[in-house]
């Protein structure tokens, strides 16, 4: 069972690594926001599920498991809100997509 927990946390580290590499190498701000949401969903969920299993089975501590579940629900609810808000705010602030963008429906709607 401990190896299942380690594999979950290792997958989470892998997705966080992919998100960090994307944030360092993507061409414009909106692509970087997409990589940041990769960190905030899959990078979090593996640690949360593995932590719930570990604290419930090996530490015998129900309070930590409940706290971790609350944290996971909070992350799942709030990360799309924050990402959506900051993408809209960046577009209104004047950040332009890169030259390879082929479709910009939000900019057409604003005019």
């Amino acid at each position: 069972m401990i190896y299942v927990i380690y594999v979950l946390i290792g997958l989470s580290v892998f997705f966080a690594l992919a998100g960090v590499v994307g944030m360092l190498r993507m061409p414009d701000a909106f692509c970087r926001m997409q990589s940041s949401t990769n960190i905030a969903t899959f990078g979090v969920l593996g640690v949360i599920i593995g932590g719930i299993l570990y604290s419930a089975i090996y530490l015998q501590n129900g309070g930590m498991a409940v706290k971790l579940a609350v944290m996971g629900a909070f992350y799942i609810v709030t990360n799309p809100i924050a990402s959506h808000a900051i993408a809209k705010g960046a577009y209104r602030h004047g950040v332009k997509p890169c030259d390879k963008t082929v479709c910009d429906k939000y900019g057409e709607d604003m005019e």
Partner: protein, 86 residues
């Protein structure tokens, strides 16, 4: 029981968070810096959770929860400020 892989994964998360400081330093716009700061916050939270599991103390989970709430509030506030409605 030997649970030092948890500490190893926590150090991995901290290393990733330190790597994101590059984007925080040279991001061209303010939105890049805000997104990078939010991601650093989340990765630090993951390191705190793993250290709480390693040491078996629940206090670090409280700190991680408070940091997550403050990071969300800060990111949303910066988004509203960039949009021009604050």
């Amino acid at each position: 029981m030997n649970n030092s892989p948890l500490l190893f994964f926590a150090v991995c998360f901290l290393f990733l968070a330190l790597t994101l400081i590059i984007r925080l330093a040279k991001g061209p716009s303010a939105a890049d810096r805000a997104v990078a700061a939010d991601s650093i916050d989340i990765l630090g939270d993951m390191a705190l959770i793993l250290f709480a599991l390693y040491s078996g103390r629940g206090v670090y989970l409280d700190i991680a929860l408070v940091t997550a709430v403050l990071g969300f509030i800060g990111t949303t506030l910066i988004a509203k400020y960039l949009e021009g409605r604050l």
